[in-house]
Symmetry: C2
Subunit: 253 residues, 2 copies
Amino acid sequence: MEKLILLSNDDGIDAPGLQYLISFVKDLGKVVVVAPTQGMSGMSHAVTIESPLRLKKHNTIDNIERYSVNGTPVDCVKMAMDKVLNRKPDIIIGGINHGANSSVNILYSGTMAIAIEGAMLNIPAIGFSSLSYDLAYNMSHYEDWIKKIVRKTIDNGLPESTCLNVNLPAEETINGIQICNQSMGFWEESFDERIDTHKKPYFWLRGKFNLYEKEKDSDEFALENNFISIVPVKIDLTHHAYIETLRKQYKEE
Amino acid sequence: MEKLILLSNDDGIDAPGLQYLISFVKDLGKVVVVAPTQGMSGMSHAVTIESPLRLKKHNTIDNIERYSVNGTPVDCVKMAMDKVLNRKPDIIIGGINHGANSSVNILYSGTMAIAIEGAMLNIPAIGFSSLSYDLAYNMSHYEDWIKKIVRKTIDNGLPESTCLNVNLPAEETINGIQICNQSMGFWEESFDERIDTHKKPYFWLRGKFNLYEKEKDSDEFALENNFISIVPVKIDLTHHAYIETLRKQYKEE
């Protein structure tokens, strides 16, 4: 049976990265797009609980069905599963994001929330992100790499509760693919304080990302060396190795 | 030196759960509250990138400084770190959430995003959630349990990149505390389709949470048996055990 491929993103249905993704995977199965009406960067795994959602059918491009939802990336996946698709998709893909989602940024990322939603449903899922934040960046040279990763994921499947976080260097020549660990890092914020026209202060988020360390097997290391990083992501956040220590602490009394 | 305790939540600065939390921890150190102006349920780890933020100082309660931010729970933590506190807090606490954040719901939870933000900064952090969704639920009987957990966390610290996900049963008599694994589950959505006054359809999110299995050491099992569940959460989402398999797949060619 023809493979059913669900695409979404967090930059909105008209973002160039999504059009590249459509063109790269359209020959691998039946593609359906359900994406946010507008850009939703930084929305993480947010869902719309307190307001109604609209589902809009767009014109097809290359015979591909396209829908938009006035909500978050996760809303789009949920809407697709319940109201658009007539069966479980064989793969769910988010992207191509305009900007990196490596390291702990997976936790802020709407693109990766799409893939994580797939992992919750035990449907193979991938989030693709380009290290270029430029909407005009030419992604044509990603085609063979992305086709290869999508094909392998469809063919081999993924373990339960698992998805892939794929980041692609913003360089013309890519050295290859590396399977990596998630780097650990943090954002160091310094809000920009400004004064509005009514002389009241407001703040605008401004941050600098810092890595704790750049291990050789980490995604940040691979990307710095111009490799595509693939981190297999499991949505079990339990710190298993710490459970016994914690149990002892609570048995002390 | 007196301990510095940062409190936030995702139900908004006026939510009863936060007032309970303030009253429970106010004797454990210097408490500062920075919470969203409004309820932010389902906001997950979202950050406000494309609009300005306002920081408002509220009147003190019991000499406790309180601030609100017109943003997400994570915005509040970032704003507190940069603009409110004059040093790193000794602990960051989110809650008490009106509603469960057990199992994979950690990924949707604004309360746990507060704790995860702490983990990124290597500051001990806890998210507390009550299984009662009722804003009028009397949480007084949580006091001793929550004090105990906060005290132990301040005294023992936490490993790097780690925080605690604590869920409390909505029962008068609690059997104790259990250190648990995160259960695996998923939301089965069925959007409610309605027609607006202009005869156009809209959808409202409605979901049912399903567990894949309820293992004996899991948080859902503990809660069902009327125990407080503590899951130590590590923000490394790498599926380490799958890396070698994936490497082989990509070496085949």
